[in-house]
Amino acid sequence: MNQIKKMLGIVWMLLAPVIVAFLAWQAFEKISQAGTLTRSNVMLQWVIILIIFIPICIGLLIFGYYSFKGYYDHLPESNAEITDY
């Protein structure tokens, strides 16, 4: 299972930028296609979507990194394992 987590870590690290790239491409396409009257509305929608999902994808990238490095191979059994810095 730990080997699967390691391989999936790579998948998550790759997925994060792919999602951002897909959203950016969609934003560009939809804003370009929008008419003059609706362009500002469409632009606002996509800017908000990107602002929200970019930090989340960064979180997914970090999650993937942690998974690849084996930090999820063992989950804490007690809270002392979390708070003993």
Binding site: M1, I4, K5, L8, N41, L44, Q45, I48, I49, I52, I56, G59, L60, I62, F63, Y66, S67, Y71, Y72, L75, P76, S78, N79, A80, E81, I82, T83, Y85
Partner: protein, 565 residues
């Protein structure tokens, strides 16, 4: 006091005090969305139509998106000063901002100040809600005996759905009592749910003032072990931050989309895609919620026996496979083309045709006829048929705010004429008519359904499928509070669990209606102008699938018997 020595009666008060306030906060949050159409008309310029509604929905969404920030602000406060006082603060903020929304004058009175004030108040609502849930779940969990933590915290889990139920119920009651027109006027009944909130909040504050601080937090504070910087400890140290990420991607993200699809998106789909009327679409949701809500407690209690993980993940898996067939059934059962029952001609009515001129082309008139078609099984579908007539010459009569009545025979071809009569306003007499020669007459073959009232069998079949969806919701959400509490240490629990919860629900879940609608728009083409109405489901299905995979592989199924450390 040990956290496993609270009597059932003691736990009853703790649950009640936490739940009442949380339920009211959910109610405050949801009435805004339920009244979005009216709010858009009141707080935006009169002629801005769809853009006003979109802006209102954007303001609605803003309340969701700001929840994680509220989680950070109040989560930090709760870990620094305690659960009880943070609770009171979130309740006062939510109640105050909700009441204030009901007091804001309309656009007609104060112009652009109206939507700006409403946006600010909506953001305050979102911040307050961001602080409420983490506190309530933490507070209850820290009082509950470990072997019953899932059961006791599941009562908190019912409050979001019950808040939705309360919001729907109050709005329907007031609307039915006042009538649509009075309800929708500037100072009409739509404001009452906002004002009612203040009374509910006042009662809740009195109850919460009697609460004692969480014993675990009190112990941590007495021992001088509170966190000096809960934000840094929650997110700045890998050991805890990795658990925050796991909670989000492996559990709450999937739970959020299942929650919002099974309730909000379902009701919106039934109303806007299937065109079931306002009252019936909401009654369907109310009935489904009523019967399904006890299952939050059932699955919360079950999670105490068999663990939290697989109940939540199976709920996600069921949603992944069942959503498309369920929503396909909604469409098929309400499609007039599939009605086999004969039309009851004695009850079917056709309105007189009314005309309106095209805004840009003075030779083009649109003629609208409304058919109320009643079927022998009691269903009533309202169709609107819009034909187009082209004149040889420009129409020269008045066009604004005037009703037109079409008279005279119309077939097709250049030799036909029609008589157009104008009336100045409702109730006035028809003016003398003017005759126009027709160059072209286009008649559509079939009307478009604009409203449906369902027959009893279909009504209850849809309720059953919505009930099934809410069962998925109870599976993913019932054990969630106990699950999140057990992941994090006491001194940073409020901060650590609040953020993934509000990102998963506020962002991933809250965006289901918006992104679902957007995806359907993407599928519209010239050849298929209606698009694929089921396409919007790919968003919650995809997110739930990702969460299922991560949760299945990374989460363990152990219950933490000791959350006092």
């Amino acid at each position: 006091m040990s956290n496993n020595q609270h009597s059932e009666k003691g736990m009853g008060f703790i649950i009640g005090a936490s739940s009442v306030g949380t339920l009211i906060e959910w109610y405050d949050f949801y009435i805004f969305g339920m009244l979005a159409t009216i709010i858009s008309k009141q707080f935006f310029p009169e002629d801005s139509g769809t853009s006003a509604l979109l802006s209102t929905l954007a303001i609605f969404a803003a309340g969701f998106i700001v929840r994680p920030f509220g989680a950070l602000v109040f989560g930090r406060l709760g870990d620094l000063i305690g659960r009880k006082y943070t609770f009171l603060l979130t309740l006062i903020l939510m109640g105050g901002s909700t009441f204030a929304i009901g007091l804001v004058p309309g656009f007609k009175t104060i112009g652009w100040a109206a939507p700006i004030i409403v946006l600010v108040l909506r953001l305050v609502q979102g911040l307050a809600l961001g602080g409420e849930y983490g506190g309530a779940a933490t507070y209850v969990a820290e009082h509950a005996p470990p072997h019953r933590r899932g059961y006791w915290t599941s009562w908190i889990q019912t409050t979001a759905t019950l808040g939705l139920f309360l919001a729907l119920g109050i709005i329907i009651l007031i609307r039915e009592g006042q009538g649509v027109e009075k309800f929708s006027s500037e100072w009409g009944g739509w404001r009452y749910p906002f004002w009612i909130s203040l009374l509910l909040v006042f009662i809740s504050i009195i109850i919460r003032m009697k609460m004692t601080e969480s014993p675990m937090f009190a112990k941590v504070k007495a021992e001088g072990k509170t966190s000096v910087n809960p934000l840094k400890e929650s997110f700045g140290h890998r050991a805890n931050f990795k658990m925050v990420l796991l909670a989000l991607f492996g559990a709450v993200m999937g739970q959020g989309v299942i929650w919002y699809t099974g309730q909000f998106y379902a009701q919106s789909f039934i109303e806007n895609i299937c065109r079931v009327n306002f009252i019936e679409s909401r009654n369907i949701l109310l009935v489904a919620i009523l019967f399904a809500t006890p299952f939050f407690v059932v699955f919360g209690a079950l999670s105490d026996k068999i663990g939290r993980k697989w109940i939540m993940l199976i709920g996600m898996l069921l949603g992944i496979f069942a959503y498309r067939p369920i929503y396909k059934s909604f469409i098929e059962w309400t499609d007039p083309a599939n009605k086999r029952e004969l039309v009851d001609a004695s009850k079917t009515t056709v309105s007189p045709a009314t005309g309106s001129m095209d805004a840009l082309n003075k030779k083009k008139m649109l003629v609208t006829t409304i058919y109320d078609t009643v079927y022998t099984d009691g269903a009533k579908f309202t169709f609107t048929k819009v034909d187009t007539i082209h004149f040889l010459t420009d129409y020269t009569g008045a066009t604004a705010s005037i009703g037109y009545v079409l008279t005279g025979k119309v077939n097709s071809g250049l030799s036909d004429t029609i008589v157009v009569k104008a009336k100045a306003n409702e109730g006035s007499q028809l003016a003398e008519g003017i005759t126009y020669a027709v160059s072209e007459y286009k008649s559509v073959k079939q009307g478009v359904v604009i409203d449906k009232s369902l027959d009893k069998v279909t009504y209850w079949k849809i309720i059953m499928l919505l009930f099934v969806q809410v069962i998925f919701v109870t599976m993913v959400y019932g054990p969630m509070a106990a699950f999140l509490v057990e992941l994090f240490p006491t001194k940073i629990r409020y901060t650590s669990m609040s953020l993934p919860y509000h990102i998963g629900n506020g962002v991933f879940g809250g965006l289901v209606p918006f992104l679902g609608t957007l995806i359907v728009e993407f599928t519209k083409t010239t050849e298929n102008p209606a698009g694929d109405p089921l396409a919007g489901l790919w968003y919650p299905i995809g997110i739930a699938a990702l969460s299922f995979i991560i949760g299945a592989i990374y989460l363990h199924n152990k219950i933490d018997n000791n959350v006092m450390d």
